[in-house]
């Protein structure tokens, strides 16, 4: 028992240390779940509304993003809710868990806090045990809040078992990935590497889920990220995914404890290797420094976005062929009309995916811009600014890298969809043309640019508020991505740049909107630049 000595005290310490971030996550997630459930009867209350959305949810495009669910007999409001929300909530909860678990273990170790704690009379395994308990408590609390919220919302078709199944199912899925984070934190020797490893595994799991969902949903059982879909809470309640998650989680946890027990403090199996004795000729200024530091992250993002695009593109032939679902159509309308209809389906699908791609492509750029301030607070800029290096040069080094990364990521992602998609088609003329593709690119880029410009403004003028960038991006993404499914009022979409341009290539490209949004981005950047040149740097 001494190996876990003072476990309770350490757990309380963890919860106190992370209280703000835990509170933020819990409020955000529980409120999102409960408020959507609360409103859901208004959105999909009648049978005709349900019938309309049921068809949409069965389309491969939506299946790729929201998961495959089977409907039997009379479909209820609650079933539609579970279909739209489960995977989405699961994803956010995984992100929360990976952040909490790596932060509570390897993050603390990197800071030297674990060393300090271990020097006191605490059990050798107690810090990892406390991190585990923290995850159990946070996920458990969220699960209970979900269930209680769903019970209170009382959607038509909801059952007590289903409500608790959702709560417990999301809690165990979250916990499973949290425990994965604990394991990668033991494998890697610093927190960035642990996070990267965990996200790589999460990404593989998500991709496997997406491809199997579209091709053959039975195979989705092989992906932990797919288990949450298998709960089927309101039509055929299934507790197997919960036992699977818990069992897998226990295996991961026992591995984590075994590794933690055997390794030295600060060490990891994946070690930081020694590097160059001298700098390469390439490393000579702020741009090359940023590239040298962030190249792995940038390349990983570009590749990941492109792989996601290609994965989405593989479903083109399935969705872009109306004849598969409706063979009589050709006889009624003739082949020209059918090809036109197929083309419309693909345009609509591509436009929907463009929203996702734009949001995802914005993330690495935003990170690069916000990093300018993170570096500042970490003291890394003191050495740079003692050199003949102006604020303007450094700011625009970060901006240039950020804009280039996000722009390329978006083009690569959408390109992956369209190139792979068109290649997979039986009838190439149904596919997305080059003009449509470039219009799709041009339509979303100003949105990305404005989001990045807002981050620039915050870093330049009000750096303490920089986290708002993420909240604003999340709002923009949710409002346009979930907006039509949740039937949100139009003004909600107009709150962020994500909703300012009509979906292209479904709609025609609007060059006026393109111009004024680009102009706005430039104005915001200039304001941020002026602010950054004038303000004091924040130092340790």
């Amino acid at each position: 028992m001494t190996r876990f000595g003072r476990l309770g005290q350490l757990t309380r310490l963890n919860l106190r240390r992370d209280r703000f971030r835990i509170l933020m996550w819990i409020i955000l997630l529980a409120a999102l779940m409960a408020s959507v459930a609360w409103k859901f009867e208004d959105i999909y209350g009648t049978q005709s509304e349900i019938a309309a959305i049921k068809g949409t949810l069965a389309s491969p495009g939506i299946v790729a993003m929201f998961g495959a669910f089977s409907f039997k007999g009379k479909v209820t409001t609650a079933e539609i809710f579970a279909n739209e929300m489960l995977l989405f909530m699961g994803l956010i909860q995984v992100v929360m868990n990976l952040a909490l678990s790596v932060h509570a273990t390897r993050g603390e170790e990197d800071l030297g806090i674990t060393e300090l704690i271990r020097s006191h009379a605490v059990g050798t395994l107690a810090p990892l045990g406390a991190a585990t308990l923290e995850l159990v408590i946070v996920n458990g609390l969220l699960g209970v809040l979900y269930s209680v919220g769903l019970t209170a919302a009382n959607m038509p078709g909801a059952t007590t078992e289903g409500n608790w199944l959702i709560g417990i199912g999301l809690a165990t899925t979250g916990l499973l990935f949290g425990l994965l984070g604990l394991l990668t934190a033991q494998l890697a020797d610093h927190s960035a590497s642990a996070t990267g490893l965990a996200y790589a595994l999460f990404g593989i799991s998500y991709l496997a889920r997406m491809i199997t969902d579209v091709q053959n949903p039975k195979l989705t059982w092989w992906s932990p990220m797919g288990w949450v879909e298998k709960l089927a809470p309101y039509n055929a309640a299934n507790w197997t995914p919960i036992w699977l998650s818990l069992l897998t989680g226990l295996i991961l946890l026992s591995l984590a404890f075994r590794l933690n027990d055997r390794r030295d403090l600060g060490a990891g199996a994946i070690t930081t290797r020694p590097g160059r004795r001298t700098a390469s000729a390439f490393l000579r200024g702020p741009v090359s420094l940023l590239w040298r530091r962030e190249r792995n992250v940038i390349i990983a993002w570009l590749l990941a976005v492109m792989i996601f695009g290609i994965a989405y593109g593989t479903v083109f032939n399935t969705i872009g062929d109306i004849l598969k679902t409706n063979p009589t159509m050709q006889q009624v309308f003739g082949s020209t009309m059918v090809h036109e209809a197929n083309h419309q389906v693909l345009l609509s699908f591509t436009s929907l995916l463009a929203i996702v791609m734009a949001a995802v492509a914005t993330i690495p750029g935003m990170q690069l811009i916000l990093k300018l301030h993170t570096d500042e607070t970490r003291g890394w800029l003191e050495a740079l600014y003692a050199r003949p290096l102006s604020r303007t040069t450094l700011l625009f080094s970060h901006l240039g890298m950020a804009y280039l990364t996000s722009t390329l990521a978006y083009i690569g992602g959408l390109g992956g969809i369209v190139v792979m998609g068109d290649a997979s088609l039986t009838h190439v003329q149904d596919g997305i043309s080059a003009t449509e593709f470039w219009h799709g690119v041009a339509a979303q880029l100003p949105e990305i640019w404005v989001f990045l410009a807002i981050s620039t403004l915050l870093v330049g003028c009000w750096p303490r508020l920089k986290t708002l960038s993420w909240a604003y991006l999340a709002l923009g993404f949710i409002s346009v991505y979930m907006g039509s499914l949740l039937k949100l009022p139009g003004w909600v979409k107009q709150l962020t740049p994500a909703g300012w341009m009509l979906r292209v290539p479904l709609h025609a490209m609007n060059w006026t909107t393109f111009s004024w949004m680009t102009g706005l981005a430039i104005v915001l950047i200039i304001s941020g630049w002026v602010g950054y040149r004038r303000r004091d740097l924040q130092m340790r």
Binding site: T272, R277, T278, L283, W380, P388, R540
Partner: protein, 298 residues
């Protein structure tokens, strides 16, 4: 001889919101001079240095390096300046060798034989990633980059706080070498023996104000000399004027006390009339001076 000062600070002020971090900072540093900048934590040493580097903007007063304004001409100034911060934070996924070279290149300098020599003498492994360096090793990276550079003005902010005594001595030798080459150095330090040994002039800062500047010799006149004396008769030294903190020694007629500088000759004349058997006088150390300014005691 009139030379332009390398650094010239006049009535510098800095406010953070309502907190006045710097109230009145005035001093100069001449070419070929090592200037010691001492004061306790939170007195404003690092804030002053950050104003000098153009990292934060002064709320009042002026600061000029090479005759140029530290805020608006910072880039031009930094061409000829080298700086080592007190807490060195380095990009964790670059090696020490890469960082040294990058910092040099940013100044238009290059990795030379001198750099290699410094790396060898300080005992740094340049192939390790910065995240694996201890505090002392991170400081070595910054010091090697600074000493490899051919600057005209060097600013060190508590540069030896993480170094072992051997490396501390290397640092002191390197600074004295700079001085011999006519460079100006601003050395902020807690280690008073280091300042005492290396600095030509000293500025003492307290609560955002420079309360004293001058050479150590000049400052000593402002305080008291410690005297231990053994007399041949039972004269009571407490009768003397300008004598403080008198304590009786271990032997009969042995006394210890502090004498105000201006009373020193009068005291000596009086003592001489009482058959001095042994006399030891110690000039105040920098530590005594420091304590004198900060606590008001000797």
């Amino acid at each position: 001889m009139t030379t332009n000062p390398v650094l010239e600070i006049t009535h510098l002020q800095k406010k953070f919101g309502h907190f006045q971090a710097l109230k009145d900072i005035t001093f100069t540093v001449q070419p070929g001079e090592v200037f010691g900048f001492i004061g306790p934590n939170g007195a404003g040493k690092s804030t002053t240095i950050r104003v000098l580097l153009g990292l934060i903007r002064a709320s009042g007063g002026h600061a000029k390096i090479f005759g140029q304004d530290v805020w608006s001409d910072s880039v031009a100034i930094h061409q000829r300046l080298a700086y080592v911060p007190g807490d060195v934070y380095l990009w964790p996924n670059l090696t020490g060798g890469e960082i040294i070279d990058l910092l040099l290149k940013l100044n238009g300098a290059r990795h030379t034989a001198k750099t290699d020599d410094l790396i060898r003498r300080f005992g740094l492994d340049p192939t390790k990633k910065a995240r694996t360096y201890s505090k002392g090793n991170r400081q070595k990276v910054a010091l090697i980059a600074a000493f490899s550079q051919d600057a005209d003005f060097y600013i060190f902010d508590e540069p030896t706080s993480g170094l072992d005594p051997l490396n501390e001595r290397l640092f002191q030798e390197a600074v004295l070498d700079l001085k011999q080459h006519g460079k100006a150095v601003l050395l902020s330090s807690h280690i008073l023996s280091e300042v005492e040994r290396m600095c030509d002039r000293i500025g003492i800062i307290r609560e955002g104000k420079i309360i004293e500047t001058g050479s150590l010799a000049e400052m000593r006149h402002l305080t008291r000399t410690m005297v231990t004396v053994t007399l041949g008769d039972a004269f009571d030294v407490t009768e003397l004027a300008g004598v403080h903190g008198v304590t009786a020694g271990q032997h009969p007629n042995e006394w210890q006390f502090a004498v105000e500088d201006k009373e020193l000759s009068q005291v000596m004349t009086t003592l001489a009339q009482h058959q001095v058997e042994a006399l030891q006088s110690t000039p105040p150390t920098l530590e005594d001076l420091f304590m004198h300014y900060y606590t008001g005691k000797e």
